[in-house]
Symmetry: C2
Subunit: 258 residues, 2 copies
DNA sequence: TTTGCTAGCTTGTTATAACAAGTCTAATTT
DNA sequence: AAATTAGACTTGTTATAACAAGCTAGCAAA
């Protein structure tokens, strides 16, 4: 039960990050410097850095070095207008751009058919860019009449921004939130390393008159995004004190999302 | 821009897992077998396995081998009774046990004081065991009069089980959900590897007459737990179709949590 | 029969070595 | 002065090697 060298070193470096010796954005010692300072081989030095990477404390840039990661996150609010909107994210000083990869009418998988209660729907696959940087991969199924009517807008904006604009207010929302780790394909799309933590938001939105109108899955970078929920038994709409804790201050986010 | 060997191998093994060649619980080829099959060094073979571990596809057991991971998750529902309860998890065939590490009256940090509107509160740190296996680390601040009155029960059950039992129904709930990665301390408590994905639930619960009564943070294993939310503008209480998608069938979960 | 030990499997840790490739700066060339 | 190039950094990939330590099955001793 010996304490591994690489862990001893990464814990020591971790302490320096947490106590402020290395600040957000600072460069850590290079592999060679670690080899010298702790008198270890390169394998061990790299393993120590790898430990920090896995904890999300640092990011590595080939040819440049290892840098202390910034921790601020952008908040998706799924509370009151019952869905998140561009406007809500804009409040956090972040501009969202939609890059539609796929937008076509398809025969939906049976699970989705059971939810939307139709066998044909529009399938949209898109990448959301936040201040120009990819942060979310989204796959959404939309009722055919809505997809057809609003295609042009849906291609350019977030789904619910379009729907709200056309007077479709969501009356009910079912969602699950979980986390996963990036496989190779997703790691390429979101420009992260293999195994990077991701936060998955799976949802179904309903209106009183049409039933389920949208069903989809959003996969966002776990290091940059979080969800906030506010449920109030009395007032069904309440925007106060939602996600203030993790909100990014305007000044900080430009550097936060480099 | 060459495609790394280790990635080529891990992608190939990944395909075998996804197409069912290796099933849930099966053993993958050992490092030596991979070295032979793909004609690579041990470093590369280990790196390939490490890639799969990082994607959450396999778990490694020293002295035994590499095994395909089980993917089913237990769902915390934060929808209608406004908080999750033991009863709700029991529906999924999982028994929750509470292991209280700390239960004491403390001077709260200023952020918490601002929320609870008092400077002294009970601090409870606990580990939640699911079918006897650690799955969640929880830190909760509770109003002093409640902590004092219900200490015995709070030590043994989930917080809201106790509160509901004494007629304290939650009227409002603010929460954020995000994911992080295990640091060394948490990795020991939850018996996972360093950097293991975790899902963090930070919440404040309110009652109409007392205001904020509980504020806390739950850190669960991201590979075993997810959250479900259901918001309905009309009916403020509705248990139907919550988290059915990720619900574990009774038969499956015993093996799912070994 | 039961216990205990050993041999051979497994993964974990660490060292040395070499080459590839991205980044930056400073010297050189145009 | 501007553009190019070279060199000295950085991290990335891969190989060989050795020892430690957890697990299991089979053999031997009690």
């Amino acid at each position: 039960m010996t304490f591994p060298l690489h862990l001893a070193i990464s814990e020591q470096l971790r302490d320096r990050i947490l106590d402020g010796s290395y600040r957000s954005g600072d460069r850590l010692p290079s592999e060679h410097q670690i080899m010298a300072e702790f008198a270890v081989s390169r394998i061990t030095a790299r393993r120590a850095i790898s430990n920090l990477t896995q904890q999300g404390l640092v990011t590595v840039q080939k040819g440049k070095g290892v840098f202390v990661a910034t921790q601020q996150k952008v908040t998706y609010s799924i509370s009151s207008p019952l869905t998140f909107l561009e406007a809500d994210i804009a409040l956090q000083g972040v501009t969202v751009t939609v890059q539609t990869l796929v937008f076509e009418s398809v025969t939906v998988p049976i699970e989705v058919a059971a939810i939307l209660k139709c066998s044909i729907a529009y399938l949209q696959k898109k990448v959301l860019l936040f201040n120009g940087i990819p942060g979310c991969v989204d796959v959404t199924y939309i009722l055919p009449e809505l997809g057809k009517a609003y295609e042009a807008e849906l291609r350019e904006q977030m789904t619910f921004t379009t729907l709200e604009r056309h007077g479709m207010t969501i009356d009910k929302l079912d969602a699950t939130i979980e986390c996963t780790q990036a496989d190779y394909e997703t790691s390429e799309q979101l420009e992260v390393t293999l195994g990077h933590p991701l936060i998955v938001y799976r949802h179904t939105a309903y209106t009183d008159d049409r039933g389920a109108i949208v069903h989809g899955e959003s996969i966002s970078r776990g290091d940059r995004f979080c969800y906030s929920v506010s449920i109030d038994r009395n007032r069904s709409r309440d925007l106060s004190s939602i996600g203030t804790k993790n909100r990014v201050k305007d000044s900080e986010l430009l550097e936060s999302l480099y």
